[in-house]
């Protein structure tokens, strides 16, 4: 049975909780959608809307991606072979040069 996507209210609770777990209090920003007249920083409602969208697009799209295995897979489960593909690298261009240096 497919998961029910989180509602706006559920995401707002998650976002505030995640930020609070990092020690960030969203209440530092002005309430509502209007920007802070002194600093130009956005209102809390605007930030929450942006972060909800971020969770529904960026996080969801990344999580749905499976790195493909380039070799011969045979009948093996692609999800298992994916573990062998493309080990992570922070600086892949640098690693390329070092690999051949």
């Amino acid at each position: 049975m497919p998961l029910t996507p989180p509602s706006d209210a559920e995401l707002d609770i998650m976002i505030r909780a995640r930020l609070a777990s990092l020690g960030i209090d969203l209440n530092q920003l002005p309430a509502g959608t209007a920007s802070d007249p002194e600093t130009g920083s956005p209102g809390q409602a605007s930030v929450l809307a942006s972060l909800r969208s971020f969770m529904r697009t960026t996080v969801a799209e990344l999580s749905a991606y499976q790195v493909p295995f380039a070799g011969a897979a045979g009948t093996a489960d692609p999800a298992l072979l994916s573990q062998q593909a493309a080990p992570p690298a922070l600086y892949p261009s640098i690693e390329t040069a070092r690999r051949t240096a």
Partner: protein, 565 residues
């Protein structure tokens, strides 16, 4: 212009085993059945020449008459040549730029700080001094996210408003060590995000080609660095690029910008936006100047491990020196220029300029223009979601400041909060996706070509490959049109060679914008019989940014949140 180099000369991309990805994975796959692991033989060979300690005398051409008549027109190569010949003093060159800064920077808003007296003192100290290097006496503008011990480094942010670093960024030390003179610090998008604005979003820097119209984007975030050079208020400048912030302002303002391979230039002493994607590099007047600047900036730095153990810096200045066969400009190295799908699609002025650019390239001996297909899953691996993988690198180093005062991030805060939302799973996946994308770019895209034209800087920013921006024309409103070439790891020499050949058969890069309305200083000539006339508005002392003129408009927080820098 030099004759074609000897046959043993080769660009850096021929010294690195591009196929190592395929070979390595193929061998590892085979090993699982054969029971043995044997990695492929190494294929890195030393390039034919490394960076020169001084000026390569064959690499500096004649000085153009218009630049002799107005020294603010001089390229680095031209000015350096005149200074070495004793025909131009660094002091006079600095004076000429201070005149223009005093006359026009209240309109341009390119600088956050002009260190006028210090620059003059530095120039005077060079008179009769030992030759310091290829930038001896050259006035430079430095983006305000590079640490400068003598001046505040604000990144146009409330967070760094009162920050004066305890040391110079390595890149700044290298530039001044090579004889460069710091004229000042340039305006930028807050924390290197948007086009240049105040921290609360008020637009400051304008495009030097449309100083009366702030709606024309000057390119961000290295906006001030571009406007300073295009507006002839510095000979060259430096910027940083995380998502197009060198290539975009260079394209917008008719400059040649070079975003080098990750690790080629030290990031030590530069305020981070994204550790794995920040690249320091020059915004210059032509390919030769970009090569001189990068040669000075590049190299190992014990304070930045990303710079260690890399291929040696090749002779970039010679690479950027056009060659001739007979009377015709020719490519230094035979080069296939890849054209990606849709590069010339549509009927806009930009695509018309691109078509003309390709025609011109195709007429240069040694260049082959080829259509290329993009690697599998290109759209997915370069999508907004995968581009956003950079964002935790934005939030993590700023976490104490996010806890303390969100408002101090001004209009840019949302991107930092987005970074806080991305989990470690997604971040690790993003680093794997980068490896996959680089494998496919090297093994598929660069199987079809040697350099590739880009329609967005972000894919190569993400995987750390070099990009060069160059002018290719103007639209009907006389606003510059540029394009971006991408190269293989550490192949800045190949990119420079292509740009140099193109610039030897075109003059787009030599065109300069008209001055803003207002009192204009008399141009200063190299001719010793014509002395400089004092200009009352010439910048002096330490000049902070002028007040933002009314009517420039604002950048709002929701717009900043959507950007890709």
């Amino acid at each position: 212009m030099n004759p074609v180099d000897s046959v043993d000369s080769q660009p850096t991309d021929r010294t690195i085993d591009r196929r190592s990805f395929v070979n390595r994975f193929a061998v590892l796959a085979a090993a699982t059945s054969l029971g043995a692991v044997a990695l492929p033989a190494v294929a890195h060979a030393a390039p034919s020449a490394t960076a020169p300690a001084g000026i390569n005398p064959n690499a500096y051409g004649d000085v153009r008459p218009e630049a002799l008549a107005d020294i603010t027109e001089l390229t680095i190569a031209e000015a350096a040549s005149l200074i070495r010949q004793g025909r131009l003093s660094a002091e006079l060159l600095v004076e000429a730029y201070l005149d223009r800064i005093g006359a026009f920077d209240a309109d341009y808003q390119a600088f956050n700080l002009v260190a006028a007296d210090d620059a003059l003192a530095g120039a005077r100290a060079l008179a009769g001094a030992a030759y310091k290097g290829p930038l001896h006496g050259i006035p430079l503008a430095i983006k305000d996210n590079y640490y400068t011990r003598a001046y505040p480094t604000t990144a146009n942010s409330y967070l760094f408003k009162d920050f004066t670093p305890p040391f110079d960024a390595t890149a700044v030390s290298k530039l001044t060590g090579a004889g460069g003179i710091v004229l000042g610090k340039t305006q930028m998008g807050p924390l290197a995000t948007t086009r240049a604005t105040t921290p609360d979003g008020r637009i400051t820097t304008v495009n030097a080609w449309t100083p009366a119209d702030p709606r024309t984007n000057p390119g961000g975030s290295s906006s001030g660095s571009a406007t300073a050079v295009a507006g002839r208020m510095a000979t060259s400048s430096v910027g940083t690029q995380t998502g197009g912030s060198i290539t975009a302002p260079s394209n917008a303002q008719n400059l040649t910008g070079l975003k080098p391979t990750m690790g080629r230039v030290s990031l030590y002493g530069i305020i981070p936006l994204s550790y794995t994607r920040d690249h320091p590099g020059p915004l210059a007047r032509d390919a030769k100047d970009a090569a001189i600047m990068l040669s000075a900036m590049a190299g190992e730095d014990p304070n930045d491990p990303r710079t260690l153990g890399l291929p040696p810096v090749p002779d970039l200045v010679t690479a950027a020196t056009p060659v001739k066969r007979g009377n015709k400009v020719a490519m230094r190295w035979g080069t296939r220029v890849g054209v990606i799908p849709d590069f010339t699609a549509g009927s806009s002025e930009t695509t018309a300029a691109r078509r003309a650019f390709l025609d011109k390239l195709a007429g240069i001996e040694g260049i082959q223009v080829v259509d290329v297909r993009l690697p599998e899953d290109w759209d997915t691996l370069t999508s907004t979601a995968f581009n956003n993988v950079r964002l935790p690198e934005r939030s993590e180093p700023f976490l104490p400041l996010l806890r303390k005062d969100l408002r101090s991030f001004g209009v840019s805060v949302t991107g930092w909060l987005q970074g806080s939302m991305l989990g470690a799973n997604e971040y690790v996946l993003g680093q794997r996706a980068k490896v996959l994308l680089l494998e496919r770019v090297l093994d598929d895209l660069f199987e079809q070509c040697d350099v590739v034209l880009q329609t967005s800087p972000n894919p190569f920013d993400a995987i750390g490959l070099p990009e060069l921006a160059l002018p290719i024309g103007f639209d009907s409103a006389d606003v510059p049109v540029g394009t971006i070439l991408g190269g293989q790891p550490f192949a800045e020499d190949r990119l420079l060679a292509v740009a140099a050949a193109y610039q030897a058969v075109t003059d787009w890069h030599l065109r300069r914008p008209a001055n803003p309305v207002g009192e204009t200083p008399e141009p200063i000539s190299v001719d010793p019989s014509k002395s400089r006339k004092p200009f009352a508005k010439s910048a002096r002392g330490k000049v902070p940014a002028a007040p933002v003129p009314q009517g420039r408009g604002r950048f709002e927080a929701h717009e900043a949140a959507e950007l890709s820098q």
